[in-house]
């Protein structure tokens, strides 16, 4: 058969968002690919230049609609670096737990979307069922189910409610059983293995050169988990280990390795949450009023001209960086320049090239295993 170009997207089940993958196929084999991004570019960086430092947090929530908490957390870390604000330890613990609950919800969303990619719709309903538990927890914190606007510069908006810790424990313990259920459904199924193993190889070297981070490169055996290598917040005080997979093939990590590393990361998040809720200063069953110095310190609202803030944060999909330059407007109320590094913006063009040589049916498997999120990609 002659080669032809197929345009997958911007509306296509494989894309998980709005972008276009143009695929050149020879029969069923992919011979060339081309990724087109930018369909939902909103100009967040430019918008932020006209906003207060506090007003920017909700915009960062909206960078990625499945892991809003981690992006807001990443931003407030950069802002605290810029404004030299202190964060109380209790607030750090609360932020850590919120981020890890968000990581669980985000990975569940990934697994739930990955199932239909491979053809199993049951997985989606199961994952969304369990994601509800964690969204309920986040809703108790932020008052909303998607965009929480929860972290503040110098702390968090509200303390954890009474009983939140117990609910968290119960849900996490239930979820640890549910992960086993997922593995019974997936890892025991030969079809799942033949669809993932030996598909979508990506070597550690290539991924390092391309700048891929997060679970995708940890699947290739490189530990780039900044929570571990460069601990921020209180990640060095809780009990956990980074999930790193050692691929058995010299060709690098395949889709199965990437699937395994995320499943393991969910287990580690559970472990971290169970430990953090015990270690939280002030106890899990006390509730401080909003603005209490246990959860929020007063931070300056103006940054001096020339001051910069920077954060390196392990988002659910990779390392996110915020770079803020203070002194906008000549008054210091707004950032002069705010720059965001999105992990998926770097990953997606790389993934498009790893598909070459595989079948059309492998495209959703490979794309899904890298967990794309277009909100943060296009910014």
């Amino acid at each position: 058969m002659a080669e032809m170009w197929i345009t997958m997207g911007p509306q296509h089940p494989m894309t998980h968002g709005l972008w276009t993958l143009r695929v050149k196929v020879d029969g069923e084999t992919v011979t060339d690919t081309e990724a087109e991004l930018g369909y939902i570019h909103r100009g967040v960086e430019k918008i932020c230049e006209a906003r207060d430092f506090t007003q920017i947090t909700p915009y960062c929530d909206r960078l990625c609609y499945v892991s809003a908490m981690t992006w807001a957390h990443s931003y407030v870390m950069a802002a605290e670096d810029l404004l030299e604000a202190e964060v109380p330890e209790r607030a750090e613990y609360i932020r850590l737990m919120a981020a890890e609950v968000q990581r669980l919800a985000s990975h569940l969303m990934w697994l739930g979307a990955f199932g239909p990619d491979i053809g199993n719709l049951t997985l989606m309903t199961w994952c969304l069922r369990d994601r509800e538990m964690f969204l309920d927890l986040l809703q108790e914190l932020g008052g909303s189910r998607m965009h929480y606007n929860y972290p503040r510069i110098g702390g968090v908006k509200r303390d954890i409610p009474i009983g939140w810790g117990n609910r968290l424990k119960a849900k996490v313990k239930l979820f640890e059983h549910r992960i086993n259920e997922y593995e019974m459904l997936l890892d025991e199924s030969t079809i799942w293995l033949v669809r993932l193993q030996g598909v979508g190889y990506a070597t550690a070297e290539d991924q390092l050169n391309a700048g891929v981070t997060g679970p995708n490169i940890r699947a290739a055996g490189v530990n780039t988990d900044t929570r571990w290598t460069n601990p921020y917040s209180v990640y060095d005080q809780v009990d956990w280990e980074p999930a790193v997979e050692k691929p058995t093939s010299v060709k690098g990590a395949d889709c199965y390795d990437r699937y395994r590393v995320r499943m393991e990361e969910m287990r580690q998040s559970c472990r971290m949450l169970l430990d953090a809720i015990d270690k939280i200063p002030g106890g899990a069953n006390t509730h401080y009023q909003p603005g209490d110095e246990m959860i929020l310190t007063k931070a300056p609202t103006r940054a001096p001209e020339g001051a910069t803030g920077f954060s390196t944060y392990e988002c659910t999909r990779g390392v996110s960086n915020f770079y803020i330059q203070g002194g906008g407007d000549g008054r210091g109320k707004n950032p002069y320049r705010l720059s965001i590094r999105s992990p998926m913006f770097i990953t997606i063009p790389y993934v498009a090239k790893t598909m070459i040589g595989y079948k059309i049916a492998d495209i959703p498997a490979i794309m899904g295993s890298f967990d794309p999120c277009i909100g943060e990609t296009d910014r």
Partner: protein, 504 residues
């Protein structure tokens, strides 16, 4: 043994008598038999087809309920009754009172009765709860059973669109090719020995010859839609259906060799008169038949032609409205046909299980044998549909195209040939034709006599035990350490996270 509900013969003789009596002395007297035959054929076909169609709602309902249950929810389903029953059993404008001459009064009475016996008085907000997927909205009879009627009505209201640069004639022709060939299969399949549309001598061959027409329609649809996704889906479908047609036909050939007939009714009768279901004599054939059938009807895990993840909807992407609805219905008709065929070929069709044993119990036995054969056929078909088709769909992911073809050609085809050889051996060397019996209890043809000692049902028992044992061995979790060279297994020796690069 014939089913006591001999609807076919009953209608044949009654129409003939009635026509002769009615037309006696008129100018049509000489053609009375022809007229009777016309009426008889029409009514028999309508009864058979109607029976299959109406009972098909059952499998659609089973699938929805089972799927929802596996997915941990009750399912957002709509009962037909909920179209007019409002909150708290109060009707939203009792429209039946507006029907002239009081013709709608019975509907109001039925509705009041339904509310009384199965209603939800005491529960508030039925519609709200139902849409909100909450499960405490009260008990109704078969909730969601009539969802498909509502769906069909919706499809009928949709506009029929043809892509501008499509090949219009072929595009319009393709769904009719698929649907009409599917309906023709149902004409060949008997519901019991007394209820069937047509019964030619070689009905099995004829049914599967028709079964092979649909792939042509699928390919037509994929090609003529002028869409790259449908084209790929059509080609995938053609490749897959061709690859699985052969093991399917070979496994059916095994059945026909065993029964010594190419006729559905005779195959089912053979299972009764020989004493055992063919499933116990050829479990391999039954499994091959099921796998090939799942591939033929394009359901998960073999639904590559309509893989929605990469091909959107595959070959029927461009069809909308009732054409889509009919294609969808055709798929379910094929699934249903496959389930009924499995019941006929391997599960004794319309014969009651243990007719000899349970049938000899006083009173209970008579009641057991009084159940019409069509009920047994449908129950067996629904059972197979639920346990195999729906369960596979809920539990399994989709296989890639090349893997499907490899599986079909490399594994199913040799095994199907093996099954044909086994059937020949069984029929030639173990079959005892003198023990065939057409009584209620059936015969004893498969007893195994070794060294003068006769084991009743020896061959089916040994065959089933052998295959179940083999299955258990194959299904056992393999030892990963010893089987490292195997292509597919869980390769992670050390689970992720146990080797900590950061700590070293």
């Amino acid at each position: 043994m014939n089913d006591w509900l001999g609807l076919h013969d009953f209608i044949y003789y009654r129409t003939r008598e009635g026509a002769n009596w009615l037309l006696e002395g008129t100018f049509l007297e000489s053609s009375a038999n022809d007229i009777a035959f016309f009426i008889f054929t029409l009514s028999v076909c309508l009864i058979t087809f109607g029976g299959i169609m109406l009972s098909m709602f059952m499998i659609l309902w089973i699938e929805r309920k089972f799927y929802a249950r596996v997915n941990d929810r009750r399912g957002a389903t709509t009962a037909l009754r909920s179209l007019w029953v409002g909150e708290n059993g109060v009707t939203a404008g009792e429209w039946w009172n507006m029907v002239p001459y009081g013709l709608g009064k019975p509907i109001g009475a039925i509705n009041r009765w339904l509310n009384k016996v199965a209603g939800n008085s005491g529960h508030k907000h039925e519609m709200v709860n139902r849409v909100g997927n909450r499960s405490w909205y009260g008990v109704t009879i078969f909730p969601g059973f009539f969802q498909n009627i509502a769906d069909g009505m919706k499809f009928l209201t949709k506009e029929h669109m043809v892509p501008s640069r499509a090949d219009k004639i072929i595009f319009e022709l393709a769904p009719f090719l698929v649907i009409s060939s599917t309906i023709m299969i149902l004409g060949m399949i008997p519901l019991s020995s007394g209820i069937y549309g047509a019964n030619p001598e070689l009905s099995v061959l004829f049914a599967f010859a028709i079964f092979g027409i649909a792939p042509l329609g699928v390919f037509f649809a994929g090609w003529s839609s002028n869409n790259k996704y449908t084209l790929l889906g059509g080609i995938r479908s053609a490749a897959q259906l061709t690859a699985y047609e052969i093991p399917l036909l070979l496994s059916i050939l095994g059945v026909c060799i065993m029964a010594g007939s190419f006729n559905f009714i005779e195959i089912v009768h053979f299972q009764h008169s020989s004493g055992t279901w063919l499933f116990f004599l050829m479990p391999l054939g039954a499994v091959l038949f099921l796998i090939s059938m799942i591939a033929e009807v394009e359901r998960i895990p073999f639904d590559m032609p309509e893989a929605e993840a990469e091909l959107v909807e595959g070959w029927w992407t461009e069809y909308g409205g009732m054409r889509f609805g009919l294609l969808f219905a055709a798929e379910y008709m094929r699934v249903y046909a496959a389930s009924i065929l499995f019941a006929h070929f391997f599960m004794g069709g319309w014969h009651a299980p243990f007719a000899g044993t349970i049938g000899s119990i006083p009173y209970l036995g008579a009641a057991w044998l009084a159940i019409p054969g069509v009920i047994w056929t449908l129950l067996k078909a629904w059972f197979i549909f639920t346990v195999v088709f729906v369960w596979a769909r809920t539990a399994l992911p989709r296989i890639r195209t090349d893997q499907i073809l490899e599986f079909g050609w490399r594994m199913l085809l040799p095994l199907a040939i093996l099954q044909v050889a086994l059937s020949l051996v069984y029929r030639l060397y173990f079959f005892d034709a003198s023990a065939l019996s057409d009584t209620v209890a059936g015969g004893w043809t498969w007893d195994l006599t070794v060294l003068g000692y006769t084991l009743p049902w020896g061959l089916p028992i040994l065959t089933t035990m052998f295959w179940i044992g083999l299955f258990a061995i194959l299904m056992k979790d393999e030892n990963i350490v010893e089987n490292e060279e195997r292509m597919y297994h869980i390769r992670t020796m050390t689970p992720a996270g146990t080797h900590t690069a950061g700590k070293e």
